[in-house]
């Protein structure tokens, strides 16, 4: 599939169509949507109505009573989620959310304004669940549910990455993410799912991680990365798997041991754990920190998430350490303890074995974020770090939407950056594009497939454009993040928009900077790139 040139894609028109939005039908153009889920994935996880169907087809082979199912599903969700009922009732359509959505900014499609995306669902609620909607119809934004409407839901609810930027600006805190999640649940109830998300969910459910690696393959991958560490640093960084009685269960997103550049972050984890002598274990069963299940339904989120506490219980660890991942932390922070339903008393309140710091903020949930953990180590002077080993990096930091607006972890990664980078090598992107106002990568929430690449590049335009700004202005050549989906999707995005920039995890930078006793003389970083001012390169760099 050929992608338009950046210059063409950046010519976004924000002019809405002449016809009213209820009359405009979605156009399923290749490159803008994800493929329908293959029936086998649905069968693996007991999802309803598995069938072979295609988004491009006119007939989506909906079950005969699809309408009743969707409406009953809506009624059920209105009863179970105050958020849904409230968000349907109180929107005033002020439009403050409109130019906050990266999909609207990237596509110019008015149905990507969160207010109107919500209205796609709200219109059905009004028609079937409010008296005024039944009576006045279109005038109050109510409309009948028909196949075109359900197709529209499918199209636009998978053009929302659940990033919550709209909810930040909404005067009533209306959260499109909540409506997208519940809308996707309703779509799934009639067998409308996307393949990329469902394949990951099914693999994770059955085998342990989104990538579907068998335990032995997973071990090979991790050990390969440990060998890489030894080759580059001369330090053995043993990988522990399913080890009973370890103090800490480490759960990381599969992206970190599966593909570049996440793998360098994983190498950083191993180096860090070895350096401080952490008594830890990974698990091949709870091998996935990420949770694509939560992208398709609250229940599926729980079905995947449940494995983490189960495994912690089986391995008799004291607490859990979570890696760098965005939506993993949205789920672990805002859902996991509630999913579990009670305090996981088989764990202990987390205490850093190195510094003795009690993580009071995790005393109920008993899971610590790697950035908190590392920041605490640095604060107590437990790490010998040489920032010069990152001197080839001019960094900006991308706050991941989930850790930003679903948790609020802003300072810890910046504190780490400050200690692993030479002074003057860190540059923030424009203030309206970072921290709580950060822009999404444009490919989160299960839509990081290949067939919708044009949409992904549009969705990530706002992020990439801010990155372009700091690249032009300060010569930024790396964008750091604490999110594995970012590390999986941003390389593709920047390759398209800002090819001069690379993506890095924060623990990778820690791994670069860690000075071990008895290590090899370091001339390269974990990516085998020459360091500035070390070894042979010294002369050459100075000249320039």
């Amino acid at each position: 599939m050929s992608l338009p040139k950046p210059e063409e894609l950046a010519r976004v028109s924000y002019q809405p169509p002449a016809k009213g939005w209820m009359e405009v039908k979605p156009e399923f153009r290749p490159g803008t949507y994800c493929n329908a889920a293959a029936p086998k994935w649905l069968e693996w996880i007991d999802y309803p109505f598995p069938r072979q169907w295609s988004v491009a087809d006119e007939d989506w082979q909906l079950p005969a009573n699809w309408k009743e199912i969707v409406l009953a599903g809506m009624e059920d969700r209105l009863a179970r989620f105050r958020s849904l009922k409230l968000f349907f009732d109180i929107c005033v359509r002020c439009g403050a959310c409109a130019d906050k959505c990266h999909f609207f900014l990237g596509t110019g499609d008015p149905k990507n304004m969160p207010v109107l995306r919500a209205e796609l669902l709200r219109s059905v609620y009004k028609r079937y669940f409010t008296r005024i909607g039944k009576a006045l119809g279109e005038l109050v934004g109510a409309r009948d549910l028909d196949e075109d409407v359900i197709k529209e839901w499918f199209f636009y609810l998978y053009q929302c990455t659940i990033c919550r930027r709209c909810s930040l600006f909404c005067p009533y805190g209306i959260d499109m993410a909540e409506m997208t999640l519940l809308g996707r649940e309703m779509l799934a109830s009639v067998g409308l799912n996307i393949d990329w998300a469902l394949a990951s969910v099914a693999q994770c459910y059955e085998k342990g991680s989104h990538i579907g690696a068998t335990p032995q393959a997973l071990k090979d991958m991790m050990e390969f990365l440990a060998e890489e560490n030894e080759r580059i640093t001369g330090i053995k960084t043993p990988v522990y798997l399913n080890r009973k009685g370890a103090e800490v269960l480490v759960v990381v997103p599969s992206g970190d041991y599966f593909a570049d550049p996440g793998t360098y972050t994983f190498m950083g984890y191993l180096l860090l754990f070895t350096y401080i002598g952490l008594d830890y274990t990974f698990s091949t069963y709870a091998a996935e920190g990420g949770n694509f299940g939560w992208f398709v339904s609250h229940e599926m989120g729980k079905r995947l998430n449940a494995k983490i506490y189960e495994e912690a219980k089986r391995l008799k660890v004291k607490w859990i350490l979570g890696g760098e991942c965005g939506h993993m932390w949205r789920v672990c922070n805002q859902y996991m303890p509630t999913y579990y339903g009670e305090v996981p008393t088989f764990l202990e309140e987390p205490v850093s074995p190195i510094t003795g710091t009690k993580f009071e903020n995790a005393k109920v949930h008993r899971m610590v974020h790697i950035s908190e953990f590392t920041a605490d180590l640095i604060r107590h002077g437990k790490l010998n770090l040489d920032p010069q080993r990152n001197a080839h990096i001019k960094l900006t930091f991308h706050d991941s939407c989930n850790t930003a607006r679903g948790m609020g972890i802003f300072e810890e990664p910046r504190y780490i950056i400050q200690h692993v980078l030479p002074e003057g090598h860190f540059f923030e992107m424009p203030p309206h594009t970072i921290r709580e106002k950060t822009f999404c990568c444009g490919s989160s929430s299960g839509i990081n497939a290949n067939e919708n690449m044009e949409l992904r590049m549009q969705g990530g335009f706002a992020r990439a454009n801010a990155l372009r700004y700091v690249h032009e202005r300060y010569g930024v050549n790396h964008m750091g993040c604490i999110c594995a989906l970012d590390r999986a999707t941003l390389p593709t995005l920047v390759q398209y928009w800002v090819p001069e920039v690379e993506i890095t995890g924060i623990t990778e930078l820690v791994g670069n900077a860690l000075v071990f006793e008895g290590e090899l003389e370091r001339t390269t970083d974990l990516r085998d790139r020459d360091l500035v001012g070390f070894g042979e390169q010294e002369g050459g760099e100075e000249e320039e």
Partner: protein, 352 residues
């Protein structure tokens, strides 16, 4: 007629129709209906409707604690947190109170509003740049409208008490400190008119806003505009017998309704539009006023990791238990040296 024209026309016609109904009715001596029956009915619908709606919302639980965290979360004690962080990512119910107060009284989230535009930039390879800037006009328009409305309502309380309470009288004096017009000219009158014009104007001027604006959005704007303009007309231009009006209202308040003579039809139109607003409130987007208090992204603390939130309908789900997983992969795990709960049978055989 296109979408926008249709929705504006219907809303405008509705308001004009309501005005006509009241005017004609009063000309036809239906003072009792418009002066007594309708106001009582409207109040009933207003309160009953809001209570019904709030109960309806409250009956649905909040299964998950999902605040939109807009500042640094409370973590390690030495991690700096500003006052803004504490308010935008509250660590407990006390700070939530602060967040909600800011939201309700100062429109905190709207104050954060930005505007983003795509501008040409030849220096960028893609020849375009998104520019983001702080945009306070919507906040200003909204806050001006709501506070002017509030003060006007409070000023009207002088019709409901005999004698007029001191604070209400004082409020009227402050509002009317610009005494360049007789009778005293109220600042809030001009503010609310300007704010309404802005709120309507932005819906018409911006193509994307026009695209999402429904008759149910234009209607309350036109309705309130009708209320404001009839009020202003009555106060400054076509005066009505204010003593008689107070008599009518005191009659309603004391549940001994009277219809004094000498009240102009303009007043009845004004009153009728207010009644319509009250009755319309619980069935419309005006519910944002009570609704904001219940918004789960705002009224919950960001304390998920140290305070358990219980979901009342939490139910056990089917997941892949470890032993089933091990059964599936036991031999391969064993061979790869991954610890297992149960050694594979084949291994034992080999051992012998």
């Amino acid at each position: 007629m296109n979408f926008t024209q249709r929705h504006i026309t219907v809303a405008l016609a509705a308001v004009l129709g309501l005005i006509a109904v009241a005017y004609v009715g009063v000309q036809g001596n239906l003072q009792l209906l418009f002066g007594v029956v309708v106001p009582y009915l409207a109040l009933l619908i207003f309160f009953e409707g809001i209570i019904y709606r709030v109960i309806k919302w409250a009956r649905s639980p909040v299964p998950f604690k999902i605040p939109t965290t807009a500042g640094q979360v409370k973590s390690l004690p030495w991690i700096p947190r500003t006052l803004g962080d504490k308010l935008d990512n509250p660590e407990n119910r006390l700070w939530v109170l602060g967040r909600m107060a800011l939201e309700v009284l100062a429109f905190r989230s709207l104050f954060r509003n930005t505007r983003t535009e795509l501008v040409p930039d030849p220096k960028f390879p893609e020849k375009a740049r998104l520019v983001h800037w702080s945009y306070k006009w919507l906040w200003l328009g909204a806050i001006a409208f709501h506070y002017a409305f509030l003060i006007i309502v409070l000023r009207h309380l002088r019709f409901f008490f005999e004698p007029t309470p001191k604070p209400i009288a004082l409020l009227g004096e402050i509002d009317g400190f610009l005494q360049f017009f007789i009778p005293t000219f109220y600042l809030t009158d001009i503010i609310i008119v300007l704010a309404l014009l802005y709120l309507l104007g932005r819906r018409l001027a911006n193509a994307n806003l026009r695209y999402i604006t429904l008759a149910s959005d234009y209607f309350p704007l036109f309705l309130i505009f009708g209320i404001v303009s009839t009020g202003i007309l009555m106060r400054y231009f076509f005066k009505t017998d204010i003593t008689a009006v107070k008599q009518l209202i005191m009659g309603l308040v004391s549940l001994k309704p009277v219809i004094p003579a000498g009240i102009s039809p303009l007043f009845y139109v004004h009153l009728f539009l207010v009644c319509v607003l009250l009755a319309y409130f619980p069935y419309s987007k005006l519910l944002h006023a009570p609704g904001v208090f219940l918004s789960p992204t705002r009224n919950l603390p960001g304390d998920n990791r140290w305070a358990l939130h219980v979901n009342p309908w939490n139910y056990p789900v089917k997941f892949h238990p470890y032993m089933e997983y091990e059964d599936q992969f036991r031999e391969a795990m064993y061979e790869a040296g991954i610890p297992v709960e149960k050694e594979p049978e084949t291994a034992e055989v080999e051992g012998e």
